[in-house]
């Protein structure tokens, strides 16, 4: 019907599949993210380190070039530590991106009372959370495990199948370590923004959880002469898990299994907080 005709007519055409509707939210939210020039610039900066790693991998396999430059050919070693550093650096960028974009995903909907409009449609709360978290999950994937695995494949193709076969576990570590970090960051950012409803405060709170959490952990450890304070330090827990996944030697005060459990508990708490707030209307009992 042409737009100049003002008579209302019901829609009688085909509908899209129900499962595909959470991607509608993803599409609109992602489009909004990249309207910010600062965000776009930061996203580009996130690829600098993987690019540097790519050059290092190339150099490591270019012995003639290193000889010409007068450098020892064994200077660069592409191993588990190399990929551990890559994921650690990209993890920091992932945190910065989350602090910048995460709080803006849900808080505007809550602040403007838009949730009833989402949930009065054939669209559930779970689909809403899935659609919104997909924005962060995919954004953070693009700067963590995706470049990590691409670099692994490039290294494998240059080093040969025997290297690839021996170090295949590193690919798994890249994927798992990135996914748990993405899950923690996404859920934490969305839970905070759902409870605070104010984008800037939610961003500040995310930084506070990370940095004050570490300080709080140190204070508990010092006062109570224990190591249990580390359970309040998300970065420490993450570091423990990553060290174990990449088999990097490091002294950690809490067992890896407990660190895993603590991270999963944090994820569950964030998800619970999120689902409690993401409702059409709050019920006041």
């Amino acid at each position: 019907m042409a737009v100049y005709r003002r008579n209302y007519k019901a829609y009688t055409g085909a509908l899209t599949a129900a499962w595909s509707r959470c991607f509608v939210l993803f599409r609109y939210s992602r489009r909004n993210l990249f309207r910010s020039k600062f965000m776009t610039a930061l996203f580009v900066v996130c690829f600098f380190y993987p690019l540097m790693c790519l050059i290092m991998i190339y150099l490591a396999h270019s012995a003639s070039f290193l000889r010409e430059m007068g450098l020892p050919t064994e200077i660069l070693s592409i191993d588990n530590k190399f990929f551990f550093h890559l994921i650690s650096v990209q993890g920091v960028f992932a945190f910065l991106l989350t602090a910048l974009t995460g709080p803006g995903l849900i808080s505007p909907d809550l602040a403007n009372g838009a949730l009833p409009l989402f949930f009065c449609r054939p669209f559930s709360r779970a689909e809403y959370v899935l659609g919104k978290s997909a924005v962060l999950a995919i954004l953070l994937s693009e700067i963590t495990w995706v470049p990590g695995l691409i670099l692994f494949v490039i290294q494998a193709s240059l080093a040969g199948p025997s290297w690839a076969w021996t170090n295949l576990w590193i690919a798994g570590s890249i994927l798992v370590s990135s996914l748990i970090w993405i899950a923690i960051l996404s859920l934490l950012a969305m839970a905070l923004s759902a409870w605070v409803k104010w984008r800037i405060v939610a961003g500040a709170l995310l930084l506070a959880v990370m940095f004050f959490g570490a300080g709080f952990a140190q204070a508990i450890n010092a006062v109570m002469r224990t190591d249990s304070g580390h359970f309040f330090d998300l970065a420490y827990l993450m570091g423990t898990v990553w060290n174990a996944l990449f088999q990097v030697d490091s002294d950690h005060a809490i067992p890896v299994a407990e660190a895993w459990i603590a991270l999963l508990v944090y994820c569950a708490i964030c998800l619970g907080l999120l689902m409690r707030k993401v409702r059409a209307y709050e019920v006041i009992k």
Binding site: Y4, Y8, K9, Y11, L117, C120, F123, S124, K285
Partner: protein, 325 residues
């Protein structure tokens, strides 16, 4: 006021149409109760709403919005069942939501989005393909009168424009039922008239059925053919407005001169119910009593009747009766 002798003559009254075939039940409730903590907000509602346009009335806190939110699946019932278009609210809410367009009472929008993007997104979430959602978003915004402002951010809209944008998102996907929660809230008289005109237009288009929740009797009277009045979470009254008015043909208004308590007493002795305000008198004629009996008593009492007219119940009368019951 709509008189018995001049149906449809009042301002804003619909044109008379021949009686249509009865509509399928829109909402059926069987002992529906909703409880928030220990507070029971809806108490055992049982009704079958069939009208094309149903008004939900009641004082603040009567449970109107709670009923709407329960029908949309936002609140769970603590007892009883409700069905919309035959689908159970508890188990088939997704099907119900696919058939419903909802315009909430409070501000509900995303301030940084343009109206056309917002309405398009809502259309897509209802299942419209992307291109079709865009086309219908333009149509819906044209229809509600926001054509010129459709590329502006919603945060810059006036209250009246936000209400229209909410209406546009509610109709973009072509629902079978349009639920309007206080659609004229905060609107100035001209914007209110425009909104009422639009609701009437939608109702008369017969593509959609309407549930309109309001505490403004005039809005409901102007747009609805059935009314459900809630009071303290219970159904105080449910009726078809036209039938209700027809049933009150024996409601009489008199303007008298020289009437005293004896005149009223004499009329009450005939079995009529009377209410006197200054020189005006309202009465409900008892069965078998005609106007000539009133004239006879007036002549006997030397009371002059300056004006006499039959009066149908206005919605206000119906509402007040329901509140008093």
């Amino acid at each position: 006021m709509i008189t018995a002798t001049q149906p449809g003559a009042a301002d804003g009254e619909r044109t008379q149409t021949p009686p249509a075939a009865p509509l399928a039940p829109l909402v059926e409730m069987q002992g529906l109760s909703v409880q928030f903590g220990k507070r029971e907000v809806l108490r055992g509602l049982t009704a079958s709403l069939r009208g094309r346009s149903i008004g939900l009335l009641g004082p603040n806190g009567a449970g109107k919005s709670t009923l709407i939110n329960t029908l949309l699946g936002f609140y769970k019932s603590s007892a009883g069942t409700a069905r919309v278009f035959g689908y159970d609210v508890g188990t088939e809410i997704r099907k119900i939501r696919g058939l419903v367009g909802y315009m909430p009472e409070n501000d509900a929008f995303i301030s940084k989005m343009s109206a056309v993007s917002f309405v398009q997104m809502m259309g897509e979430l209802s299942g419209l393909p992307k291109d079709m959602a865009l086309e219908r978003a333009h149509e819906a915004l044209f229809y509600v009168g926001l054509a010129e402002a459709r590329y502006r951010q919603l945060g810059t809209y006036s209250l009246g424009m936000k209400q229209l944008a909410k209406l546009a998102q509610a109709i973009v996907h072509g629902p079978k039922l349009l639920i309007l929660d206080e659609p004229t809230n905060g609107l100035d008289p001209s914007a209110r008239q425009r909104m009422i005109r639009m609701i009437k237009d939608i109702r008369d288009g017969k593509e959609m059925r309407i549930v309109l929740c309001s505490h403004l009797l005039r809005d409901v009277e102007d747009t609805c053919d059935e009314v459900l009045i809630l009071k303290q979470g219970r159904i105080a009254h449910y009726s078809n407005l036209d039938e209700e008015r027809r049933a009150n043909k024996r409601f009489l208004e008199l303007e008298t001169y020289g009437a005293n308590g004896d005149f009223t007493e004499a009329i009450e002795k005939l079995g009529c119910e009377c209410a006197v305000i200054a020189n005006r008198m309202k009465m409900i004629l008892a069965d078998g009593i005609e106007t000539r009996d009133i004239f006879r008593i007036a002549a006997e009492q030397k009371v002059r009747i300056r004006r006499m007219n039959f009066r149908r119940d206005t919605l206000e009368d119906i509402f007040l009766k329901a509140m008093e019951s």
